[in-house]
Amino acid sequence: MSGADAGAGTAEDAPDAESGPSLGYERHTTVIARTVVRVTVPIILLTAVALLLQGHNQPGGGFIGAVLTATAFVLVYVVFGQAYLQSDLLGLDTADDTHRAVEYYRWLFTAGLVVALASGLVPLAFGFPFLTQAVAMLEGLPLYGHMEVASAFAFDLGVYFTVVGGLLTVLGEVGTE
């Protein structure tokens, strides 16, 4: 608690000229939080992608990966604020104080649904029922040597994008409020 107070104090004392108006987050969060988040967010994202990729054989999958990804974004939002995420990370114009990133999130879950649907429709072309999945074993690859490619991964990817997009849309909108 005292740490937070001290951090807030420091932020208020710090000169604004250096950081500029888009870095208002310094007023609310501590150096410790910012540093920790800076280190952990990439790790979280990596873990999320790993969970997504290994989902078919080990604990994980599209849904967990997606929720974890959303958590990473939440950390950025909470610690750095939406302006930072938009202007510095996504390179968006934040002049009119709207939450432009939500437009991207919307595209994300639409794309996810499309991918999932498409992965379900492909089997129809081969005369299998909707959403039939198949597995192919690839041998003799460089580095990997042996790799299993499951068509279910395409579907999982759809799940991943839909859930990430959906959660971030909700978070972004509610957060803006």
Partner: protein, 812 residues
């Protein structure tokens, strides 16, 4: 045959879809385009008739559910189809003149064509559900057409009324259909293996279940509402708000015939056990029937009573009418009553009456409606008291009106006489066969017919006598408006002159469709000797002629009687008003706009349904025992979760509440870890974290604390919480009583794998994944996952919409 039938039914719909485009190109001449579409349908129906098509034609619709789109072609179907397409051609041509300069013509023609298609569908449907679908489509198009003048208050009222009455009747009919399809094990109406083919067995099943009379009444209710039988006749006079061609087409010649069509179609079914009366003719039939008849069939007493009551009541109302279209509307209901009574009678003549009168009524009533259209269009009024001596201005129309109204009055040698004579004959034999109160049938038939005679002559008198001074200039109608009634008038004349040709051509087949057992050929002729029913006709005409000079006094007398609850309309208006007021007073209780009210209702409802279902299914409580692997750690973790849950209820603020709640969530996650469910644990942990953040974001907006609730509210909430908690607890107990083995078996079964012992490897072999949870999610039950991600996307969209809408509202 199948192609022709499909073309007949769907061509009008295609035509309707194209109408807006055509209207852009042709403008008012769209009428002739629509008439051309109808003419093609007529030609196709004629082709069906000429090739002697008969029987079932079907296309698979939803093969996996055993639903097919079946059509059935026979005499009755062809007659109704002829009426729909033939009168359709005439009406659409006539509309070209009548609708000149009227608004909304593209909509008008499109709806008329769609209606025609639906009516052809009703006529040709060979499947209960196809019939029902087309049936409701006719109601729908009738609604649009009655409400043609959309800004007109009375036209809105009329459209709503017809919609309410006919559609709700249709729903009752649907219930009847469900009973029929349950009892018969098929939805086919006629043909091999259909309801009609197995009528005896199906009726027996219905009787054993005690459903025979209810089914009869339900189907009858559908027919009665559609065919404007008492007391549902109230919508028909209001429906005259529609443009006159619509009244002539829907509300005299075709749509209202759907009800009698239904009655005719199901007559052989419901009368199947009583087919003794239909084997022979005349006295032989009467004798055979007298020997076999033990009691009046339910079908007969329900429908003959309904039909005769309608015929009489609406004939009286027609005499009380002040507007020519109102008069014709009531008379339509009256004649429909006659047809229903005919089909109701359990003897040969009954079926003959119905079959022949469908044709006769369509011919003379459509003529009269078109004549009425000419009068209102050219004379500018429909008020009976201000019309008279129109023959000076409209000579050709006067001849047509004379022909048609004499036929309607049932005066020999016009065609209306023959079918009315058949009604008297069948009513007389009913009395003779069953005796007692059934002698009322012929008496009432004569009584009602007297009024029919009176209003028919009244309509004719509009053209006779001196020209009323109040009438302004009366124009000659354009050819497009005169030709259609002329064609119909010629039809009346032809049927009158050579009725047996018409019978041989089509009425005989119609009769065969409605007859029980073997049908024979029949013929009509002018009476040569005195028989009871000839006497009945004579009485009708004689008494009618005697009463004619008193017409105005009778008219006034009827109008003075029509007050308050005597009018069926009073019941309708008050009923609708009461329901509206009732709904309005209920809404504020249910729709409070407070989230807690909705939550309370939803939760209580779900709990009640679930508990009720458990009770109804009679499930017992499974034995609760400590599961294997219950270690100290598990007990400890769950114990902490419990403490967390208890702490939530006493938390002093929102933030504290949410934080304590997350203790519960994280403990559950730890429990998953201890229980060897890493996937669940991962998900639970991450979701818990996210939810916590969202909660904290939202809490910022809520008031600081709940305030102290009222005692009553608190008690209600406590009861609700206990109920919901209990339900969930019970559900979990019951749902987990099944062992995981059976879940695996079920999944294997769903995946279409060979049954037998399967363990985890089966998932590996089948789904190519070692993570069972994920293989289930993305492979075995991928369809469910698909649904779930759609829900996620939907939820995101709703949040987006809600919040955006609110901010937009605030900005305004």
């Amino acid at each position: 045959m199948l192609e022709t039938v499909l073309a007949v039914v769907f061509l009008p719909f295609v035509g309707a879809a194209l109408t807006p485009l055509v209207y852009r190109a042709l403008g008012e001449r769209t009428a002739y385009y629509a008439a051309a579409v109808a003419a093609v349908c007529l030609a196709l129906v004629a082709r069906l008739y000429a090739t002697g098509a008969h029987g079932v034609a079907r296309v698979e619709w939803v093969p996996s559910l055993g639903v097919s789109l079946a059509f059935y072609v026979d005499g009755l179907a062809l007659l109704i189809a002829f009426l729909a397409s033939g009168v359709g051609v005439l009406i659409l041509t006539y509309s070209g003149g009548y609708m000149h300069g009227e608004p909304g013509q593209a909509k008008y023609y499109a709806t008329l064509l769609a209606f025609m298609g639906s009516m052809l569908g009703v006529a040709l449907a060979g499947d209960l559900f196809a019939l029902f679908t087309f049936w409701e489509l006719t109601s729908l198009s009738s609604f649009v057409l009655i409400g043609h003048y959309t800004t007109d208050e009375s036209s809105q009222y009329a459209a709503r009324k017809s919609m309410l009455i006919t559609v709700s009747g249709g729903l009752f009919m649907l219930v009847g259909f469900l009973a029929l399809s349950w009892a018969g094990g098929t939805t086919l109406i006629a043909g091999d293996g259909s309801l009609l083919a197995n009528a005896d067995a199906t009726v027996e099943t219905l009787r054993t279940a005690g459903l025979f009379l209810p089914t009869l009444l339900l189907v009858g209710l559908g027919a009665a509402t559609k065919s404007a039988q008492v007391p549902f006749h109230v919508w028909l006079p209001n429906a005259m708000e529609a443009p006159t061609p619509v009244s002539a087409f829907l509300h005299s010649a075709t749509m209202v015939k759907a009800g009698v069509y239904l009655v005719g179609r199901f007559r052989p079914f419901f009368l199947a056990p009583f087919d003794s009366g239909d084997h022979g003719e005349g006295e032989a039939a009467a004798e055979a029937a007298a020997a076999a008849a033990s009691a009046l069939p339910a079908w007969t007493w329900v429908l003959v009573t309904l039909g005769l009551l309608t015929m009489t009541v609406t004939a009286i109302l027609a005499v009380g009418a002040t507007d020519i279209k109102e008069l014709l509307a009531y008379s339509t209901a009256s004649h429909l009553g006659l047809i229903v009574a005919g089909f109701g009678a359990a003897n040969t003549y009954g079926a003959e009456t119905g079959a022949f009168h469908i044709l006769n009524h369509a011919s003379f009533k459509a003529t009269l409606f078109l004549v009425a259209g000419i009068i209102s269009h050219e004379a500018g009024t429909r008020d009976i008291s201000s019309l008279g001596g129109l023959r000076h201005d409209l000579p050709v129309t006067a001849v047509l009106a004379g022909l048609a109204s004499l036929s309607m009055a049932g005066i020999p040698p016009f065609n209306g006489f023959y079918s009315k004579e058949l009604l008297f004959e069948s009513m007389w034999y009913l009395g003779e066969e069953f005796g007692g109160l059934t002698w009322l049938f012929p008496a009432v038939a004569v009584f009602g017919s007297v009024f029919t005679f009176l209003y028919s002559i009244k309509f004719l008198s509009l053209f006779l006598g001196d020209r009323r001074p109040s009438l302004g200039e009366v124009h000659r109608p354009p050819v497009a408006m005169l030709a259609p009634p002329a064609v119909l008038g010629v039809a009346v004349a032809v049927i009158s002159a050579v009725p047996n040709v018409a019978i041989d051509a089509i009425v005989g087949d119609v009769y065969a469709s409605a007859a029980v057992g073997e049908a024979h050929s029949f013929s009509v002729h002018l009476p040569t000797e005195l028989s009871p029913y000839v006497l009945m006709s004579a009485i009708t005409i004689g008494v009618g002629a005697l009463l004619w000079p008193q017409y105005d006094r009778i008219h006034d007398g009827i109008r003075s009687l029509l007050r308050g609850p005597v009018r069926a309309n009073w019941w309708y208006d008050n009923g609708v008003e009461g329901l509206t007021a009732g709904s309005k007073s209920v809404v504020p209780r249910v729709q409070t706009g407070l989230l807690r009210t909705y939550a309370a209702w939803a939760l209580a409802g779900t709990a009640a349904l679930a508990l009720g279902a458990y009770l109804a299914a009679g499930v017992g409580l499974p034995a609760v025992e400590l599961a294997e692997g219950t270690t100290v750690a598990v007990v400890l973790v769950l114990g902490v979760a419990l403490v967390g849950a208890a702490a939530v209820t006493v938390a002093p603020s929102h933030v504290a509440g949410v934080l304590t709640l997350s203790i519960l969530g994280f403990m559950v996650a730890i429990f998953y870890i201890l229980a060897d469910a890493p996937d669940l644990a991962l998900t639970q942990l991450v979701v818990e974290t996210l939810v916590l953040v969202i909660f904290l974001l939202v809490l910022d907006r809520l008031p600081a604390y709940y305030g102290s609730p009222e005692r009553l509210v608190a008690a209600r909430d406590a009861v609700l919480s206990v109920a919901v908690g209990g339900t969930v607890f019970l559900t979990v107990l019951l749902a987990t009583a099944g062992s995981p083995d059976s879940i695996a078996t079920r999944l294997v079964e769903l995946a279409g794998l060979p049954p037998g012992e399967h363990h985890a490897p089966v998932f590996f072999d089948y789904g190519g994944g070692a993570n069972i949870v994920n293989v289930i999610l993305v492979d075995l039950r991928a369809m469910d996952t698909m649904g779930e991600i759609s829900v996620v996307a939907m939820a995101a969209l709703s949040v987006l919409t809600l919040i955006r809408m609110r901010s937009r509202g605030e900005a305004r």
